[in-house]
Amino acid sequence: MFDDKPETTRMNMIQAIRDAQDVMLGKDENVVVFGEDVGYFGGVFRCTEGLQAKYGKQRVFDAPISESGIVGAAIGMGAYGLRPCVEVQFADYVFPAYDQISQEAARLRYRSNGQFTAPLVIRMPTGGGIFGGQTHSQSPETLFTHVSGLKTVIPSNPYDAKGMLIASIEDDDPVIFLEPKRLYNGPFDGHHDKPVVPWSKHPKGEVPTGHYTVPLGKADIVREGKDVTILAYGTMVFVAETAANETGIDAEIIDLRSLLPLDIETIVESVKKTGRCVIVHEATITSGFGGELSALVQEECFYHLEAPIERVAGWDTPYPHAQEWHYFPGPARVGEALKSVMEAV
């Protein structure tokens, strides 16, 4: 997406997300940023730090603690012609806004035949791994992918986070932008007892300065392989890598990045090549996005499959506090699934 080789800076995911908003606030005077604690303080995860000081309180400000209010107001602003990029403090707290998102933002365009649109981005930290218990750990992506009219994306690294957030802000439809909070500070490999490796040691922590986009709807093959395709996104991308490395199985790992629109071509091409597929996500398994992926792969690749598709996901329980690492679908569970699809003939 660049003309020349760009200048880059090392960033973690928080800085990349902040930088994307910085770029867009600078580039487009219609961009506004608001949410709980995002103004002076810069957000509880610091994703908007310094933006109010730079762009003023008219464009970056604190919102009352009302998620339905935040999204509802953003819809009104969007209808006026602004491009709001709002933060919901945790994905677990988006539910008061679910009516505004699923019944309003998602359908403004459809029901007005394009007279009114909702060009908003709703950012929210998602996923577990920080001992946050049941209200700081959930992964509600399918509650959005199930709604027509929404786009739902989830980057797994600083490079993608910045490029995808810029693409999301420039998008004319509402985008749910999920941020895997366990990856904010480093590419967590799934071994919680090991020290955190910072993004500065990872190539995807090299982030171009200024404006660039990573288009929504394009998956990324993060590891090539010939034996089995792993479909993953968010935190699970690195867990999948760990599992592949630890089992020595030659897995091809696809970071979906965008769940809707979905890059089905990349998925199909890979599964046709490997003949096996393991799907990994952190959200509860029943009616999870893995069910949709599994159906699509079956429809498109049935005659190429050499083993049943396996899903590894969170158990169908609320996210527990003390048992967090028993709940989390870590490298061991992904490894088991990999071995199981390899053994099936």
Binding site: E36, F41, V44, P64, I65, Q134, I285, W315, P320, H326
Partner: protein
Amino acid sequence: MTREENDYAPLKLHVPEPPVRPGDTPTFDKFEVPEAGSVRKPPIDTDFDDIRDLGFDIIRVLDDEGKAVGPWAEDISDEQLQAGLRAMMRTRAFDERMLKAQRQGKTSFYIQCTGEEAIATGHQLALRQGDMNFPTYRQQGLLLAQDMDLGRMMNQIYSNEKDELRGRQLPVLYSFKEEGFFTISGNLSTQYIQAVGWAMASAIKGDTKVASAWIGDGATAEGDFHTALVFASVYKPPVILNVVDNQWAISSFHGIAGAESSTFAERAHGYGLPSLRVDGNDWVAVYAASRWAIERARRGHGPTMIEWVTYRAGAHSTSDDPSKYRPKTEHEAWPLGDPIKRMKQHLIARGLWSEERHTQAEAQYADEMREAAIEAESNGTLHDGPGPSAAEMFEQVYKDVPPHLRRQRQKMGI
């Protein structure tokens, strides 16, 4: 629609800003502190229309010398006052111990209520067995005021072997049914309307139990808060609608919740509900106002909102650093002072207490908390020692473990 020449100045968005930020000198000069004893005490069956002024004033009992003055001071026994001080001191000692445990890595998270101890402890002592609180994470005083077994609270904080919630819930999000303490949700404001529903049930069943709903200034912005007021106004159930205005919601001062334009208590009036505004750092005022509203509810005169005016003296939680958004010493400038110091001064003035006894009591409660913590830690801490099993994660999702969860549990190999 008219099309005329536009001579209007461009509009500007109003975004409230606290008077001071880090680096500035703390000030509360816009905050008016009414004289202690100056607010009248109406009979409990007074129509809301006749007590609108109580939603603007601040009920205060303890004056600057520590004397209890005015109509709200009446009829409180020495024993009750001493119990109040004790409950506040133990609450603070409990917080100090658990903050230390969190810093030592024995648990993931903790929330203190420093500076706000009077509110929950005073309110609890005015409730009865069988009443139900729907608390937020900052009302541990409700438990400490009733001499709750400390180990039961600490076991939950440590997610250990004896944790009654089996490790499932974030530290401090307790649930103690017998003690009238509803299971705390992490999602703000959801429980305000639930408290109203619980109180409606008390009325439907012809009981005389009272529900007490709790919310912070910030969370009043959520829809469920306003829904609760509508239901309370329609059905007039026996519920106390507490709003703890501690000036801050994480980094957002209460102006972001609309406090620049109206008091929280005043908002009740729009729904035809009576409200009291009370000095939340004055234990005697807290107890007296709670007793009034609870009696009013139990006698069938309906809901009362109580706005507790206080200040969050500590960090929001162990994940927060308030020096990033407010002056470090702002709590020292808070005009309503510290609730424990004020109560101590009052009891000394009454001849019920002394500096020596206070110092002694501080040491005694610190010891009590240390011993309780050591005992609780022998049942394990979050990362060490015995704890709830992984299998227990699958229990209590439903009454019986359904087949799909049994399969998942087996898959896990347990």
